[in-house]
Amino acid sequence: MGVIQGDQMVLNIGPQHPSTHGVLRLEVMTDGEIVSKITPHLGYLHRCFEKHSENVTYEQVIPYTDRCDYLASMNSNFGYVVAMEELMDIKVCERVEYVRVIMAELNRIASHLLGVGAYGLDVGAFTPFVHMLRDRERILDIFEYTCGARLLYNYMWVGGVSHDLPKDFKKICFKFLDYFEPKIDEYNQLLTYNKIFVERTADVGVLPADVAISYGVSGTNLRASGVKWDVRKEEPYSIYDRFDFDIPIGEAKFGTLGDCFDRYWVRILEMKESIKIVRQALKEIPEGDIFETMPKKIRPPKGSIYRRTESPRGDLGYYIESDGSPVPTRVKMRSPAFTALSCLDEISQGWMMSDVLCILGSLDIVLGEIDR
């Protein structure tokens, strides 16, 4: 883009910048408005998740996983308990599986709502953001009704869940889904098809599939580049193989495949798929005792496990090493947002200052998970 070469200037975005989605510092080399290099500086939100885990018992790790990806705590919990159950060779009862899937998918919707809304905010549209937060609140209300917490649930435990669903959960959940489905169309009319929004996002920050794969980008960001990869389909964990749902991939709706608009659009489509899954799960959910398979003492055998699940940001992997004591030797979390952030430099070179924040927003990073 830049034809005239001027002096390079270092611009420091963050850590107290309104649209870095947390506390991230970007050191940006710019020539006027044109950006030539970005160096992300991490660690402002580091809370020693992995070191903490080595000092607390297995069940006490779960509240810490909540705090990693704080926008999708259910999915963080889910990944950890799935790995633990495989390590301990526990088969949880049917009802627990269904409850977990419902909660994880509702949380996926909530997380995408915030991601998409905050993206609108990055581009400058305020009203859709507030509308989306309004609907996210309703999901949080459902969570609060079920397990008492609105953000950090500590809901899924090894071998079960902390609380059974309330009596009228089905009714409330269906009511919410019926309310929410038409709202997606409203968001589309208000923001997605808005010509200014399309112009700002289409063709911007193109992430080609090969680059995405070489960086290890996963989840929505990878799917937007046209790669049909979803852990829920490829390596079905829990009971995801029972549900009928599609994996939306980027379709170059307005611009190039893998641009910011595609990443945004895949999230919108995924919300619809999640609604489908929740509807099916609510219809099929059996009765059962949720504490039936919960072990009295969590003391996994000696060994290690790596298991990945699909969080709203991508492949969320947990590596757990056990020496047979009630305290884990090592818990490592493979953070999908971290890999997404690492490709920021490559895809935003040559774009303008405004586009950098637009691209950063489209990657939908959560700093809690990056810094851990």
């Binding site: 420091n12 408005e33 581009v123 400058g124 200014i196 405004s354």
Partner: protein, 359 residues
């Protein structure tokens, strides 16, 4: 109620002291305009808060006002804001250019208030009745950009500088389509005097529709549209708010300002909105004429019609702001140079031909 009128009254009552008469007239009119500016900002800020809240399914400010915390519509919210801004610590960065930093708010303020002084509030209420009123307001509107660049440069902050540069490019560019489209009413009425321009619009089309310039022919309507959008861009409002762009540039050229100086910027922004809306109303929407032809027209009611129309346009600006995302710098220039300017040019030809054919 022009300045001349006050000077004449002064001379009649007190005596022939031209300098004193001039100063008294200027001070009184200036004071009135400042009151108008402050009131406009007060009301507009409150309305903007409420409009944005209602569009977002919120309630907006509810606590401040008669019956504290009783949900009484928060009418006193802007007073609370104003008091907060006035008692706030006035910080000036150490590395800032002290003089320019202090002067910049006043230049922007002057740019806003001298624009107000030529607006025809009613057939008899106008600070100065200039024979080149349209031209004058367009010129006065571009003084502000000097203040913005000054503020951005003096702050010695990269965000401020970015904001100032963007603002300069934007305001200068958008003056061209605004100027080209305001030529249309001048061509049609043959005058640059705002009072004569409004009087030209009296009467009716087919006896029902008001004979406003924007309704007189399709080109004029297009011209109004372009003028209004360019005016939004000139006042740095969304979707053209790239100089402030809070998600990119923190607060743009106002990043380092706080307290009273920031309040002056704020006041000027709303005054600028009033000025450009006022010009659009006078040039295209019949100024102080009633929307129903020949009905309820009088100098006092004219005041009501004028303020009503201006408020409507300001509301539309708020409506824009709370609906649209923000454009990028190059897209902003695209819209200006490749869309608005060619169409505005063609408009001038169109209106000329229309006038030749239909008289």
């Amino acid at each position: 109620m022009t300045i001349d009128f006050i000077i004449n009254q002064f001379t009649e009552i007190i005596g022939n002291f031209p300098v004193a008469a001039f100063l008294v007239a200027c001070a009184s009119v200036g004071g009135l305009l400042f009151v108008l500016m402050a009131l406009n900002a007060m009301v507009a800020v409150y309305v903007e808060r409420k409009v944005s809240a209602f569009m977002m399914d919120r309630l907006g400010p509810m606590g401040q006002g008669p019956g504290l915390h009783a949900g009484k519509w928060g009418i006193l919210q802007t007073f609370a804001d104003a008091i907060k801004l006035l008692i706030k610590e006035d910080t000036i960065p150490k590395s800032a250019d002290q003089i320019l930093f202090k002067v910049a708010p006043f230049i922007i303020f002057i740019g806003a208030i001298i624009g107000l002084s030529a607006l025809p509030f009613s057939s008899s209420i106008q600070a100065v009745d200039l024979n080149v009123g349209v031209f004058y307001i367009i010129a006065a509107g571009s003084i502000g950009v000097i203040g913005i660049v000054m503020a951005g440069w003096a702050s010695n902050n990269k965000w401020s500088l970015y904001g100032a540069m963007r603002s300069a490019a934007q305001i200068i560019s958008y003056e061209i389509p605004a100027g080209l489209s305001i030529i249309v009413p001048i061509m049609m009425s043959g005058t640059m005097n705002l009072q004569n321009l409004i009087e030209y619009q009296s009467g009716s089309i087919f006896g029902i529709f008001p004979n406003w310039i924007m309704f007189q022919n399709p080109f004029a309507f297009l011209a109004f549209f372009i003028f209004f959008i360019s005016a939004v861009a000139e006042t740095n409002r969304t979707p053209f708010d790239i100089p402030e762009a809070e998600s990119e540039l923190v607060a743009g050229w106002m990043t380092e300002y706080s307290g009273f100086r920031w309040a002056v910027f704020f006041l000027s922004e709303y005054a600028n909105m009033f000025v450009v809306s006022g010009l659009a109303v006078a040039g295209f929407m019949g100024g102080w004429l009633s929307p129903i032809p020949g009905f309820l027209n009088s100098p006092v009611l004219g005041l009501f019609w004028f303020f009503g129309k201006v408020s409507f346009l300001i509301f539309v600006m708020m409506w824009f702001r709370w609906t649209f995302p923000r454009l990028r710098v190059d897209q902003l220039m695209y819209v200006c140079w490749k869309v608005f300017i060619p169409i505005a040019m063609l408009n001038i030809f169109g209106v000329g031909i229309w006038k030749l054919i239909f008289g």
